[in-house]
């Protein structure tokens, strides 16, 4: 299928071969995010926005975890899914820390059963189905972060949202290419 074809392409073979380095990259991104966090004492008006973003990350984490255990993914795709899962976990940790720092209680994840129902994960029958769903979710997530930036009072938090949105955009681009879907011709893909 498209995913495997893409992943065994030369460039992407190298990409996957560097997955270990990419995992280190997650740690580095976490450190960068930490820099943003250090500058941010979430203003009270921003906590609600962060909580909504945190709920989004919980859902993404659940989707990748459940899909990862489904047995539908080939080893190469699973490896990529785990990489993206790591990104989402780093986002979750940053956002939850901000809520805690502001004296709030970070929103908890729902149950797996709720995510399975909400995302209709029971309908996934193939790797292609999983990739299609993940592509849709990542696109929505990238747009959601951008769409909420103007609601934020704290510029440092706006920067964090932009960083996270860029991560989601990388996920979307990778999955979109894997599915063989052309990049949209018009600019402002996530506007």
């Amino acid at each position: 299928m498209g995913v495997n074809q893409l992943l065994i392409d030369g460039g992407r073979r190298q990409f996957l071969a560097r997955a270990g380095a990419a995992s280190l990259g997650v740690g580095a991104a976490g450190l960068l995010g930490g820099g943003a966090l250090a500058a941010t004492a979430a203003r009270s008006g921003d906590v609600g926005v962060i909580q909504t973003a945190l709920a989004l990350e919980h859902e993404g984490i659940a989707a990748y975890q459940i899909a990862g255990k489904s047995g539908l993914l080939s080893p190469a795709t699973l490896k990529l899914a785990l990489l993206f899962l790591g990104h989402h976990e780093a986002h979750r940790d940053s956002l939850a820390a901000l809520v805690g720092k502001a004296g709030g209680k970070p929103v908890e994840p729902k149950t797996d059963a709720q995510y399975i129902s909400g995302l209709d994960l029971g309908a996934l029958k193939s790797e292609g189905d999983v990739v299609a769903l993940a592509t849709k979710l990542e696109r929505g997530a990238a747009s959601a972060y951008i769409g909420q930036i103007t609601a934020l009072k704290d510029p440092a938090l706006a920067r964090l949202f932009a960083q996270i949105s860029a991560d989601e955009a990388i996920h979307w681009t990778t999955l979109n290419n894997a599915a063989g879907t052309p990049i949209p011709a018009s600019a402002y893909v996530f506007a």
Binding site: Q51, L137, G140, A142, S143, A144, T150, A151, S186, Y188
Partner: protein
């Protein structure tokens, strides 16, 4: 010149006037022309916009981070079974008309401060298209 892309590129209209003196008008026209055309009430364009802008949190058929949207036009506010609404939305009352949805999408926190949704859509044509799509999924199912 009112497209969000152009606004995003050059800032508010006051800045636009200043920048306009040095930025070729043709560039602005090009940016505006690059935007996909959205006709008011265009449910097909609205579906694409819905998936791109709302799909992070919502779906038509299932409660997710936000409530499901099947039947939203005309239904009472905060009425989807199984969805945990914020107190702010529960207090809002009334039903979701197209006019009210337009107001909601243009400023969720202005309409219901403290609600869970913060995403706003500045472009009226985009709002109309999304609402047209929501209307199309709000019709009674065929018998």
């Amino acid at each position: 010149m009112s497209s969000p892309e152009v606004r995003a590129a050059v800032g508010p209209s006051t800045k636009l006037a200043r920048v306009g003196a040095i930025l070729p008008i043709a560039l602005l026209a090009l940016a505006a022309a690059a935007r996909p055309g959205i006709a008011a009430g265009d449910a097909a364009a609205g579906k694409m916009l819905y998936e791109a802008k709302c799909g992070g949190c919502h779906s038509v058929e299932r409660n997710r981070i936000g409530p499901l949207h099947r039947g939203v036009v005309g239904r009472p506010v905060a009425s989807v079974p199984g969805y945990s609404y914020s107190p702010a939305l529960k207090r809002l009352g009334g039903s979701w008309t197209t006019a009210r949805l337009d107001r909601w999408l243009s400023g969720t926190q202005k309409m219901a401060p403290g609600s869970k949704m913060y995403l706003e859509i500045d472009d009226p044509a985009q709002r109309r298209a999304i609402i047209a799509y929501l209307g199309s999924v709000s019709k009674p199912p065929p018998r």
